[in-house]
């Protein structure tokens, strides 16, 4: 039941927004009553916190696997991170949109936990870049922190417009992004 509530909530939060979705909406869609909701969650905010934590914890786990793989270059690790963020849209498009949009509705204490984990995720990207700079894979003059932000923005923004069933697949998008990021836009042929 708890799981069903979470799933239904994500669906509705994504479609109508957190504030615009009432507990009533959620339980009605499930055919249960409000009492049931409060049996499993102590508040609407707690539900949102759970969703956020589930999501970021998942991301961090997957990121860890990418980073800890001893056989891949930093370039590949970065590539896989981008792919992770972009290809996950198919799987996690809905929770992702909720994740990016509704953080402001968390209470300060929940928000701070979540923010810390998001920061960690970003910092891991930054470290990949820094490591790549050290090994000479990447240019020395990159500002790793800013580039990490740039990559995150690029990828996360795609949740605003990207549809996995459109003319561009998620893999193609990830590749196009990486190609631009790695080699730049400038024409060096002429």
């Amino acid at each position: 039941m708890k799981k069903r509530i979470v799933e239904q909530s994500i669906l509705l939060f994504e479609r109508k927004g957190f504030s615009e979705t009432s507990i009533q909406d959620v339980v009605e869609a499930l055919g249960v009553t409000k009492g049931t909701f409060y049996y499993y969650f102590s508040s609407k905010e707690q539900l949102l916190r759970d969703i956020h934590l589930m999501y970021i914890d998942d991301l961090l786990t997957l990121q860890e696997q990418i980073i800890e793989n001893p056989e891949t270059s930093y370039r590949t690790k970065l590539s896989e991170t981008v792919k992770l963020l972009v290809t996950q849209i198919k799987v996690t498009g809905r929770p992702a949109r909720v994740f990016h949009r509704e953080m402001m509705h968390l209470k300060p204490e929940s928000a701070s936990t979540v923010k810390q984990k998001r920061r960690l995720f970003r910092f891991n990207i930054q470290k990949i870049i820094e490591s790549g700079v050290e090994t000479g894979e990447f240019r020395k003059d990159l500002q790793a922190d800013l580039v990490a932000f740039a990559i995150l923005g690029m990828c996360n923004w795609s949740y605003n417009w990207f549809h996995p069933n459109g003319s561009v697949t998620d893999e193609e998008l990830a590749e196009a992004y990486m190609e631009t990021l790695l080699n730049g836009m400038v024409n060096r042929d002429g």
Copy 2:
């Protein structure tokens, strides 16, 4: 008075979100009454629509000036667009955040007008890229539409974290972004 209401609303919408900001909050902050608000706006949604239109219309005007300048290269035009988006944070950080976050609260008809203008802004970026490809400034294999999305994501995302008074200035950020975008991350020296 109408202008004061708009300004105060932007302030509060940015701080607490559209749904969480009540008309009461707005008018109380201004020392007037709810009646006054409804004298100038027919609904809360209309106020949000006005804010959105003001913002995107401003952006489009500034973009036009960049594009129509006959003396600049496409590379420069792109650079100026990034600078426009990023440096405007100082000036329009608040309305920008409202702009990016709260579009879902517009009624379908208002939303469609705004979306069309946002699409136009993005399409103009895409055209700069395409023109740059044609003149040989940019690589031939760029997918202009995806790159336009990438640039927008990169810049717009910075509203989530960038503070103009931090250790990095807006101009530095714009330059770092452009540098990465134009020349890529890969080290070509070694």
Copy 3:
């Protein structure tokens, strides 16, 4: 202007009801502003009172002419009263409906003036009947007061359903009513 306000108000009160019609509705329909309204009327209630008084005073004047005509029988006087009430629908359908529906919104003091005049109108009908009984035109066992109520109900109720442009004309309706009233429903032929 004052007259235009009254006319427009009657139109709207009839269509939407007194409470549901706002001063805003009235002045908007006239292309003026609320200030104008309050220049001519001290309150919404006063406007309604004026409408009521105009209407009942008109009726009383016409009734007087019927009653004071020395050449008509009481039967004719009654007939003309019915005709007065019914045929006036064409002319005064709208104000009449307002008149019958919205009296509860008058303040006690206004209401009492209007009620007194309405009572007078009814009492005049009752007197016609009583006089007709005395002259032998009408049956001796009629309860004049109740019959007066019956006639008023019959006629006034027609404002709820009668359309002067329908298959029955107002004159035909008046005649059918009088025929039933005077001669009854019972078949005396068989």
Copy 4:
């Protein structure tokens, strides 16, 4: 609770009118809160609709009993219908007044259901008259539809003035109305 809300509402609607009675008024009189009201009714309009349907459905049921009785003449059936309408004032005076006054506040769709049922009630009266004409009880030249309207007007109007505890009882009123209706006002003795 739902029943108590309905009863209290009828009381207040009759006394002050539908628009002038607020939900607050109703729940305050019952010592509950507004939330309670909206637990049982989805809107103020729905409450009014319920009241209307209850009332007209009751009337139709009673009318059916009158019509379907095989032992009574049409004259008696008509008489009983008038008695039904008039004597019900004692029982249903309040809901009746609400019923007759406040139909304009129903939404079009609710109104149309109620109107249909009211039309049926009237049409049943008309059929009694038509049947009575066929059997020779009533005069052949009656216009059954207009007479039905006349009777309804006569009876319903009495809700505007009749008090069951006054000098005339409801039974006397019904009888006086029927006497006038059946035998007419004209004096046939002289």
